[in-house]
Symmetry: C2
Subunit: 420 residues, 2 copies
């Protein structure tokens, strides 16, 4: 095969006709495939089916977990998250089934009350948030819903483009935060380098109430090679003299049951104590019985890691298949680049032309649903219209192959169309 | 026995000496009893132990409840709450384990975004909330934490004193809401009359963004006679031309496991649609597996009511014992009045003298913990210092008897002390 840029116009015409025939052939199959979201598969969920059975209802102190109480979670649950996110137990608050809720609530508190006793509420101020992109659409939706303006900064292979970040923060006191997925980032799969973590922790910010939203969503979620490590943001911030700068989030959502997991918030002693003041008015405490279920499944970090190795065994072949098809279909014709993730839930595909929207539309017309074009960018706008997020965790291997063939065919067609 | 008001000073001296001897006798027992909170007992929680075992994980449509999705809850769960709070399914949003969180979040949304597209955020405005008292301390804490000023209004045997409420609302546009526990109210146990519900629904409010916080916490929680009924607030508001006035809350907390139940929010179509806009940014959805567990326990309203009759059988004797001791100890000496609840979680005791704080202190010194004096009033201040909330649900009958003897003795001592 030849790179598309080398094709003559006649070659293009002929190729387009061939691809349209292939497209029509797919159309007869009446496909109905969905690769829109990073959902665990049935097989992954099955690994945690012991959550459906719990013997007993007391924690290690003998307390009845069925009753009210326990604002910040069971000590054993805090200990487990302490191991996952390498943070002292006393800096952790356990939440409900959704770390996204912990993030929304942390920013809602900042809007209503400020981030500390001696800072002003963000509500009523002009407040901006840095959104390294491509990133996680739900993050951007949280801050935008709360009225915070999204400012796009680029992602690199080692984290957000820190030159851009530092330049913006040095001059603009209305920028109050940044969204980060430090390990196996959504959707590019990269892990932040030590240098990026250090710069985030130590950079000068014009705002004195700047916060890093550190969503360690994929802390244990590798599927290739060894588990990546990422430098401890809370310790690095403390060492840099900015102890209250980072809010850390994690959850078991993609370890146990996606909709019925346990979430955690971690931060400095100051931030945790400040947050508890409001969480204590908002709730009598999270679901402790569900924490017990999780502790029976994951009594310690070793058992959790053993469990995650089974997830890896299920996810690895799916991502390998995605990469295989991308290689077979697109490598030689040179119309796109893509990531080779070793963890997380996504492969990120960048077309050489601004054809993402058209590609996704062509795929949808064949019954293959992909994440909406632009979703990984603030306000859903991909400035180059070339990024496509591929989420292969849920479908079976055969369906992934079919969906990927359709996606690649659609990308070829869209690229050729764009070249006219 | 003689009414204390009829005692001569010599009688008082002698009585005080006798009571102090009794008090000292209790002191040697080194009691450790807790009647501070309305917690279900171990036996009540045991009734729901089937929640610890779930067969399967699919809802009636075949959807896998372990995975992400389902922002507003399972249809069957909405149907159950629809029966409990007599509201159409489409007006219900299912939440997590805490209806208090739904209340906090509803008011936090009002503060950040207003109660509708065309009203202003409460944050930054002077906003007041009516707090019928004695009432539920955690309600008042929610609105106060959000910066809303508490205005105390009196409770009557049929609900808030509506003359006071209407007079305040007619003139003060900064009053934006009222807290209500319409059935078996916390702590007085009364149920709102139809007239009160109608006046709440139809009264003129200077504020056009006024909201009734209708916490139907004890919808099914009788223990004596027949279950009370309360007029449907949403329908009554709609009929009165104020369809968006009420936010309704309910939960299974005191039906199943107190800390691991399912909560619900219900309101007009407008309000539900407005709330979903924000809830959709805050969460991917509540814990559906826990909803399935509850549906296995309570497949319909009849099974739930059968379950609640077992709660009634456990709670009834406890409240009867409270009333018995109050009668034995206090009726003839005429130093207090108390409620005779037929449902809910509390008996409310009003001393004739302003001696609640001292009574609670005297009890605490004997090892009997009671709800803090003033807790059922805004800012924890009982203007007459005479109300004591009795929460007999958790302790065993013998312990209730002991705690009540201590409480009554303490009340007698405090009353006599006050009379000097």
């Amino acid at each position: 095969m030849t790179a598309y840029t080398q094709l003559s116009n006649t070659d293009k015409d002929q190729l387009l006709a061939e691809l349209r025939q292939q497209y029509d052939a797919f159309a007869t199959q009446q496909l109905d495939l969905d690769m829109t979201r990073g959902k665990p598969s049935t097989q992954q969920l099955d690994l945690a089916n012991n959550l459906l059975r719990l013997d007993g209802f007391k924690d290690s102190t003998g307390a009845d977990c069925r009753n009210y109480g326990g604002l910040d979670g069971l000590p054993e649950m805090k200990a487990l998250f302490s191991d996952i996110i390498e943070t002292p137990v006393e800096n952790i608050i356990i939440g409900g089934n959704s770390s996204l809720t912990l993030m929304f609530d942390a920013l809602a508190r900042a809007c209503l009350f400020g981030v500390s006793e001696d800072t002003s509420p963000w509500h009523g101020q002009e407040v901006k948030f840095l959104c390294p992109s491509p990133g996680y659409d739900r993050h951007f939706t949280v801050s935008q819903t709360l009225g915070l303006e999204s400012i796009r900064v680029d992602m690199t292979d080692s984290g957000p483009d820190m030159d851009q970040v530092e330049a913006l923060l040095a001059q603009d006191a209305s920028i109050k935060g940044i969204w980060c997925v430090p390990k196996y980032s959504n959707p590019t799969g990269i892990t932040y380098s030590d240098e990026v973590v250090e710069r985030l922790a130590s950079m000068k910010t014009a705002a004195d109430d700047f916060r890093i939203m550190w969503d360690n969503a994929y802390a244990e979620h590798y599927f290739s090679g060894e588990l990546d490590t990422v430098k401890d943001i809370l310790a690095t911030c403390a060492a840099a003299g900015n102890p209250d700068r980072a809010y850390v989030f994690a959850s078991t959502s993609k370890m146990s049951f996606a909709g019925s997991g346990v979430s955690a918030f971690a931060s400095s002693a100051n931030n945790v104590s400040y947050a508890k003041k409001y969480i204590g008015a908002q709730s009598i405490g999270p679901d402790k019985v569900n924490q017990l279920r999780h502790l029976a499944l994951f009594p310690d970090l070793a058992s959790l890691r053993n469990h995650m190795s089974k997830h890896a065994a299920l996810l690895g072949p799916k991502f390998a298949r995605v990469e295989q098809i991308l290689n077979e279909e697109l490598a030689e014709i040179d119309i796109a680049r893509w990531t080779k993730p070793r963890g997380g839930y996504f492969t990120s595909l960048d077309l050489n032309t601004g054809s993402a929207k058209r590609t996704i539309e062509l795929s949808a017309n064949l019954g293959v649903k992909l994440t909406a074009a632009g979703a990984p960018f603030p306000y859903g706008v991909d400035p180059q219209d070339n990024n496509i997020r591929i989420a292969p965790s849920f479908p079976e291997l055969d369906d992934i192959e079919t969906a990927m063939r359709v996606l690649c065919l659609s990308a070829k067609l869209a690229t050729l169309e764009a070249a006219y």
